[in-house]
């Protein structure tokens, strides 16, 4: 992979990896670390891929592993992530509320939701990326939807 190709990879996948990592970790600095680490692995390993989808799947899988590694680290387990001071600003209260409620879900649910609703990934591919059974992912999605539905309705009624 040349420098130019690496730049293109950063442009093409940087935000995708960041969003997944942010969904998982709920922290901008950690998510950026994961983005960098994942992309550098892509550069160092110089893997060849059958298709852009293959490459994307690989990057997502590596990003999930990096997120897990970070979550498992003794340092992170002893410290509570700070609330993100740089949370994005939204156009509407609906967006703001959705963001707040999604980020209140458990990390695995948030990551699965992101891959399903943002990246349009089928359950099978989410399972592959997250190293889980498809039935488990299905359960995560179902529970996440259920919890969100309740929370969003509560917020609406206030």
């Amino acid at each position: 992979m040349t420098e130019e190709q690496f730049r293109e990879t950063v442009d093409q996948y940087g935000d995708m990896i960041f969003r997944l990592a942010y969904s998982y970790l709920k922290n901008r600095a950690d998510a950026e670390d994961v983005m960098q680490e994942t992309l550098l692995k892509r550069y160092v390993e110089q893997k060849s891929f059958d298709s852009p989808e293959h490459e994307k799947n690989w990057l997502l899988r590596v990003a999930v592993n990096e997120c897990r590694k970070l979550l498992r680290s003794p340092w992170r387990r002893r410290t509570e992530p700070l609330e993100d001071a740089e949370a994005p600003s939204f156009d509407s209260p609906a967006q703001s509320e959705l963001f707040r409620q999604v980020m209140a879900l458990p990390p695995k649910y948030r990551a699965a939701i992101y891959l399903y609703y943002y990246e349009d990934y089928p359950v099978r591919d989410i399972a592959a990326a997250m190293g889980a059974n498809p039935s488990t992912v299905q359960t995560w999605l179902m529970r996440a939807r259920g919890q969100l539905q309740v929370k969003l309705k509560e917020a609406e009624s206030l």
């Binding site: 992979m1 420098e3 950063v10 940087g14 960041f18 901008r28 939204f90 967006q95």
Partner: protein, 195 residues
């Protein structure tokens, strides 16, 4: 159910900072630099007759630990050259240039992006010398002899390259102090860019 459009609009606001993206490019360059040729090879590297489409085989003749590396030129501005090997690793070089030639009885040195008529210096003193600064690396060019028969010596901190004119006066077109003998007539010499 989650409104997918609303979800996508909401989460599209999440973007990595430009600083983080720039930083990863810098980290990549650091890793890339670490992949430069090992010092022992860097000191003895010669590439012959570089053209834009040419693949060049670089041999490390006096070392067993390094195998031939096939490098392909991907960028050149006349002085700086970038090559990639088969695995996509990049190598940056500074090109010395084309050496000497005799035109209409005049000795012309081509190198470091310029052409110089050195006939007068050779006829007067038997030697021409010039020091260049190549991105902070000192390159000393010395040509000794006569118009008809002379030797070009290029000294850098990492290598000394010699070239005889005419080429068939020498057993090989180019010798390097570390022992490499290029099998090809040397029309241009490349030295790895300093770190």
């Amino acid at each position: 159910m989650i409104d997918q459009k609303l979800y996508q609009e909401t989460f599209s606001r999440l973007c990595a900072s430009d600083e983080a993206k720039k930083e990863v490019l810098l980290k990549m360059q650091e890793k890339s630099n670490k992949k430069r040729l090992p010092k022992v090879l860097r000191g003895i590297l010669i590439a012959a007759a570089l053209t834009a489409a040419l693949a060049v085989t670089v041999s490390a003749a006096n070392t067993n630990m390094l195998e031939d590396i096939l490098l392909t030129l991907v960028f050149s501005d006349g002085i700086h050259e970038r090559m990639v090997d088969e695995e996509g690793n990049e190598y940056n070089f500074i090109s010395i240039g084309g050496g000497t030639e005799v035109r209409d009885g005049r000795v012309i040195f081509s190198g470091m992006g310029e052409e110089l008529d050195i006939t007068d210096a050779l006829e007067a003193d038997g030697v021409f010398t010039k020091t260049y600064d190549a991105d902070g690396m000192e390159v000393v060019v010395t040509i000794t002899g006569t118009v008809e028969e002379h030797t070009l010596e290029i000294v850098t901190p990492e290598a000394t390259i010699t070239q005889a004119y005419p080429a068939n006066k020498s057993p090989a077109a180019a010798d390097v102090d570390a022992g490499l003998v290029s099998a090809e007539p040397m029309e241009g010499a490349c030295i790895p860019a300093g770190e």
